[in-house]
Amino acid sequence: MTTTSWKPTAKEIVEKAELFTSGHRACAGCGPAIALRQVMKATRGPTIVTNATGCMEVVSTIYPYTAWKVPWIHTAFENVAANASGIEAALKAMKRKGRLAHENIDVIAFAGDGGTFDIGIQALSGAVERGHDFLYVLYDNEAYMNTGIQRSGSTPHGASTTTSPAGRVIPGKLQYKKPIADIMVAHEIPYVATASIAYWQDLLVKARRGLETEGPAFMHIFTPCPRGWRYDTSKTIEIARLGVETCIFPLWETIDGEYNLSPQSKIFALKPERKKKISGYLKMQRRFKHLFRPKFKHVIDEIQHRVDERWNRLLKRCNMTQSD
């Protein structure tokens, strides 16, 4: 695939119309809402959006209001990739029959971690295997926030949620986060990227690449949630940035299966001493508060260990090694 040469300037982007508008009812400081805004700023022309059931669907289309300036459809929770498949198939057929007014219409599917890691993975796997031309955007806030902070396959080890509560015996979620982006790479699709709302330019360029990709593209965006992660609403971007700086959420992309570390993460491969400890990241979020009790302190070490392990594996995939 070709990679975009598009390097948007801040001025160009702020002057571009909002396709996901004000008046949506996301919580103050919502990370996913920032992700949607940023992705929609990367569109290149006529676009149809489909949304899985989840926070962003609910907050953006409370009848009779809609925050969408593009054609938009929601049907259910587990099937957003099938929505995208159907839209794309319809566009192809109508174009073939001369019934489409546009030369090209991009299709974007938005889903949260529940709709992607868990209930929606079958439809997602099927849609990308079939090779539909669409961009799938996962906004990952690491739990079922829409229904009140229940654990998902994305919830990190040690996090307390309402279905993996930190109790006297159990220190929050016992399992580790599913490596969803690597699972998508294993589907051998042309484009996979991770992105963070703290690095808007990187995110926009990746979204544009995903849209320009012929065939399925997958983007995993790290979107902190003040309500579910239990931090002050002003810290959303700070925590998103810390996710990258601690390497618990490194930024990378694969083009035709080749892993490339993005510059924001590459710095920590080149200068490992700059990589921050995970404890500072955990400390900022009250979903991990219990880990700082003496009884559960070992969990922090376990998390650090797993972060390092995954980071080193990523570096190998990117043909880099950490020299510490």
Binding site: S22, G23, R25, A28, T61, P64, A67, S234, E238
Partner: protein, 95 residues
């Protein structure tokens, strides 16, 4: 029964939305509001990129940052992130 709401004959089929969300003001959610210091502002344009509510506008005519208090929910991300320290949060009804 609420007589101000439309009946089934008067609304589009299938739940098609007929009002833009921009008619639904979220500005009254906030307890703190951001105050912009034009003197300190370097116009780096970071704040409009990271506002969840598109409530920070770039006024192309006078080339200034402007807050849209009709929609700002007062999260404080802009103040927290501003590299020039040009935004501070004050209690609603304060300054």
């Amino acid at each position: 029964m609420n007589k101000t709401l439309k009946g089934w004959k008067d609304i589009p089929i299938a739940g098609v939305c007929w009002k833009p969300a921009t008619q639904y003001l979220t500005g009254d959610w906030k307890t703190f509001k951001p105050i912009h210091d034009a003197e300190k502002c370097t116009k780096c344009l970071l704040c409009p990129m990271i506002c969840p509510d598109s409530a920070i506008k770039w006024n192309q005519t006078n080339e200034e940052i402007e807050f849209d208090y009709d929609f700002c929910k007062g999260c404080g991300i802009c103040a927290n992130e501003c590299p020039a320290d040009a935004i501070k949060m004050v209690r609603e009804g304060g300054e």
